[in-house]
C-alpha cells in the first residue's frame, strides 16, 4: 500500500524561514513587502503557466427530456390530437393510480450498471485467456467474481469499481445523485469523479461515503475489513463512530465495533501495531491502555489524524493525556477550549480537525446527515 504524502517540517529548517513564511502576505495575496525568493520562483515558473485559455467549441448538449411526437401532437391546434391527449392523460392517470396502490418497486430498480468481466485461466502458464464478457447488474442484484476472475464496473456515469477475485457485492441503489452498493466480501478499488457524497458502500460494520476520491476497500468473510484512501478522502461511519480517512491513510473496520482509528500508512511500524492493538482490545483493558500510551508516545504531528479520533474513543480521564499530546503536536485553534474538547463539543472538535489541514469537515457533516446507516441486513 503506498503512502502519498510525507509531511512534517524537518528540524533543520531555520526558525527565521518559518517566521518569514507564516507572516508572508506576499505569499498569501501578492501584497505587502515583496518576498524576493518568491518573486524569483514566480519568475522562473512563469514558463509553465497556462498559455491558451480560449475555450474550444463545445458541443451543444440537450439536457432537457426529449419531447416525442405524441407530445407535439397534443400541443398542436387540431381537434383530434387534443382528444388523443385527453385520452392519454386519463390513461396515464389511471395507470399511475393503479401503480401507486401496489407494492411498488424502487423507481430506479431498472437502472443497471455495465460490468466487464475478465477471467484469467487457472493455469497461469497458458498464454491465452477467455475474452472479456460484458454484463449488466441491476438494482437488487448480487454480483460476484470467482477465484480467477476480476471485473470492472461502471458506476453509472460517476466512476468505476475494479473488483478483485472472490468479491461479492450487491447493487442497492442507482438513482440520480445517490448510488449505493453493499460489499459483502472481497476487494474493490473505487474511482469516483462525482461530487462528494454521491457514492456509498455499505459493509457489515460501517458505511463508506466517498468524498471525492479514489480508495480501496477490502472486507473479509467475517465482516472485518480495511479501507485505504489514495486520493481525496473517505468518511467511514457506523453507529456512534466515525472515521475520516484522507489520502495516504487507512482504517481497519470490525464487524462488532465499527471503524477503528485511522492512521497514516507511513507511520512507524510500532505506531501502526499500537493502533491495531487499540482497535481490537476491549474497552478499559490493560492491553488497550498500553496501546494508547504507545500511540501517544510515537505520534508525529502528522499523526494528529489518529489522535484527533482517539479523543472520542477513550474515557474522560484518558482524554486529558490525548488532549495534551495532540495540543503539543497541533495547537488547538483559538475558538476551542480545553474543557470543550474534553466534553467532546462537536463544534470545537470540528474546528480542531480543520486545523489538521486534512479537508474541511463541513463537507463530511453535510453528507453524513444525508446518508443513514446500512440499508439492509447482510446475509
Amino acid at each position: 500500500m503506498r503512502a502519498i504524502a510525507k509531511t512534517g517540517l524537518r528540524s533543520d529548517m531555520s526558525e527565521r524561514d518559518k517566521r518569514q513564511t507564516e507572516h508572508n502576505e506576499y505569499l498569501w495575496e501578492g501584497t505587502g513587502e515583496p518576498d524576493t525568493e518568491i518573486q524569483r520562483l514566480e519568475q522562473a515558473l512563469k514558463e509553465f503557466r497556462a498559455t491558451s485559455l480560449v475555450p474550444p467549441a463545445f458541443p451543444v448538449i440537450d439536457y432537457a427530456p426529449r419531447r416525442s411526437s405524441w407530445w407535439l401532437a397534443t400541443t398542436s391546434k387540431t381537434w383530434a390530437p387534443r382528444l388523443a391527449a385527453a385520452t392519454l392523460t386519463l390513461a396515464a392517470f389511471t395507470i399511475a393510480l393503479v401503480l401507486s396502490l401496489r407494492e411498488s418497486t424502487p423507481p430506479d430498480s431498472h437502472t443497471g450498471w455495465s460490468v466487464e468481466l475478465s477471467e484469467a485461466p487457472a493455469d497461469t502458464s497458458l498464454t491465452t485467456s477467455k475474452p472479456n464478457r460484458k454484463l449488466q447488474i441491476q438494482v437488487g442484484e448480487t454480483f460476484e467474481t470467482n477465484r480467477v476472475s476480476t471485473a470492472n464496473i461502471a458506476v453509472a456515469d460517476i466512476g468505476r469499481l475494479e473488483l478483485e477475485p472472490m468479491t461479492r457485492l450487491r447493487l442497492l441503489q442507482s438513482a440520480a445523485g445517490r448510488k449505493r452498493i453493499a460489499l459483502d466480501r472481497g476487494t474493490i478499488h473505487a474511482t469516483i469523479w462525482a461530487p462528494p457524497g454521491e457514492f456509498v458502500v455499505d459493509t457489515a460494520s460501517a458505511v463508506a461515503v466517498d468524498l471525492g476520491c479514489m480508495y480501496t476497500l477490502s472486507i473479509e468473510e467475517n465482516g472485518n475489513g480495511l479501507l485505504s484512501t489514495t486520493l481525496g478522502w473517505v468518511g467511514f461511519h457506523s453507529s456512534g463512530y466515525e472515521s475520516l480517512i484522507p489520502a495516504g491513510a487507512a482504517v481497519a473496520t470490525y464487524k462488532d465495533s465499527g471503524p477503528g482509528l485511522p492512521f497514516f500508512e507511513d507511520a512507524s511500524e510500532m505506531f501502526r501495531s499500537a493502533v491495531s492493538q487499540f482497535d481490537s482490545a476491549k474497552e478499559g483493558s490493560a492491553q488497550r491502555l498500553a496501546a494508547q500510551q504507545v500511540i501517544l508516545r510515537q505520534a508525529r504531528p502528522r499523526d494528529g489524524l489518529t489522535l484527533w479520533h482517539l479523543l472520542s474513543r477513550v474515557s474522560e480521564v484518558d482524554r486529558q493525556a490525548v488532549y495534551a499530546r495532540l495540543s503539543a503536536l497541533i495547537p488547538p485553534p483559538a475558538d476551542t477550549t480545553r474543557e470543550g474538547i474534553l466534553r467532546l463539543d462537536r463544534a470545537m472538535l470540528d474546528s480542531w480537525w480543520n486545523a489538521l489541514d486534512l479537508g474541511d469537515i463541513g463537507l463530511w457533516r453535510h453528507w453524513e446527515r444525508s446518508w443513514p446507516g446500512p440499508e439492509t441486513q447482510h446475509k
Binding site: 518559518k18 503557466r49 497556462a50 475555450p55 463545445f58 461530487p195 480543520n354
Partner: protein, 197 residues
C-alpha cells in the same frame, strides 16, 4: 475573508453554471475561461507539462455532459477540481498500459511526472521540487507560483477554506524552501567533488 468582489464572482459563476445546465455552451465557455487556469495548475502537478493543455480541454469535455447533475451550483469549482484530479489518475493508468517509456513516472503522486520541455533548467528543477511535495501543498503552490492566483482566489475556485489554503501555502513554501536549500547545498558539494550531475 471573502470580499464583495469575490462574492459577486461566485454569484456570477452560479449563474453561468445554471445557464450551462440549460445547454448554454457560451456560459460553459465563460466557466472555461474562469477555471481553465485552476484546472491547468491541478494537472501540472500530476502529469507531464507537454500533455497538460490537451488534458485541460478533456476535463471540460468530461464535465460538460454531467454539469446538469450538479445540484449545488456554488460547488462548481471543487467539482471540476475533482474531475481534473481523477482525469490525471486515468491518464496515469492509461500510460501504464502503453509500452513503457522512460518518461513515464511510476506513480502520479509518489513520483510526479518529469519535466521534459523546458528551456530553463532551473525552472524545471524548481517545478520538480514543487511536485515532490505532498499533494495538498503541491497543488496550492502551483496555483500560486505558476498560475499566479492569489490565496483568496485559490480558496474561492477550489472550494477549500481560506484557512486551509493559507496553511497549505505556508507549510508548502516552508518545505519548498528547505528542499531548494538542500538541492543547492548538494549541487555545491557535487561541484566541489567534481561530480557531474
Amino acid at each position: 475573508m471573502v470580499t464583495e468582489a469575490q462574492a459577486c464572482l461566485h454569484d456570477s459563476d452560479a449563474t453561468f453554471v445554471r445557464a450551462a445546465q440549460q445547454g448554454d455552451t457560451e456560459a460553459f465557455g465563460q466557466l472555461y475561461k474562469r477555471y481553465a487556469r485552476m484546472v491547468h495548475g491541478i494537472l501540472l502537478g500530476r502529469v507531464r507539462h507537454v500533455e497538460v493543455e490537451d488534458l485541460v480541454q478533456e476535463v471540460f469535455l468530461r464535465a460538460l455532459p454531467r454539469v446538469c447533475e450538479l445540484r449545488d451550483t456554488s460547488r462548481f469549482g471543487s467539482w471540476l477540481a475533482t474531475i481534473a484530479r481523477n482525469l490525471a489518475v486515468d491518464h496515469y493508468r492509461q500510460s501504464q498500459t502503453r509500452p513503457e517509456s522512460p518518461d513515464d513516472a511510476s506513480d502520479p503522486d509518489e513520483q510526479p511526472a518529469k519535466v521534459n520541455v523546458s528551456s530553463n533548467r532551473e525552472a524545471a528543477e524548481i517545478l520538480e521540487c514543487v511536485r515532490s511535495l505532498p499533494e495538498a501543498y503541491r497543488e496550492t503552490l502551483i496555483l500560486r507560483l505558476v498560475e499566479g492566483m492569489t490565496g483568496p482566489e485559490i480558496a474561492m475556485k477550489t472550494g477549500l477554506s481560506p484557512g486551509s489554503v493559507r496553511v497549505n501555502l505556508h507549510r508548502g513554501m516552508n518545505q519548498l524552501r528547505q528542499k531548494l536549500a538542500i538541492g543547492k547545498s548538494r549541487n555545491a558539494s557535487d561541484s566541489k567533488n567534481g561530480t557531474t550531475v
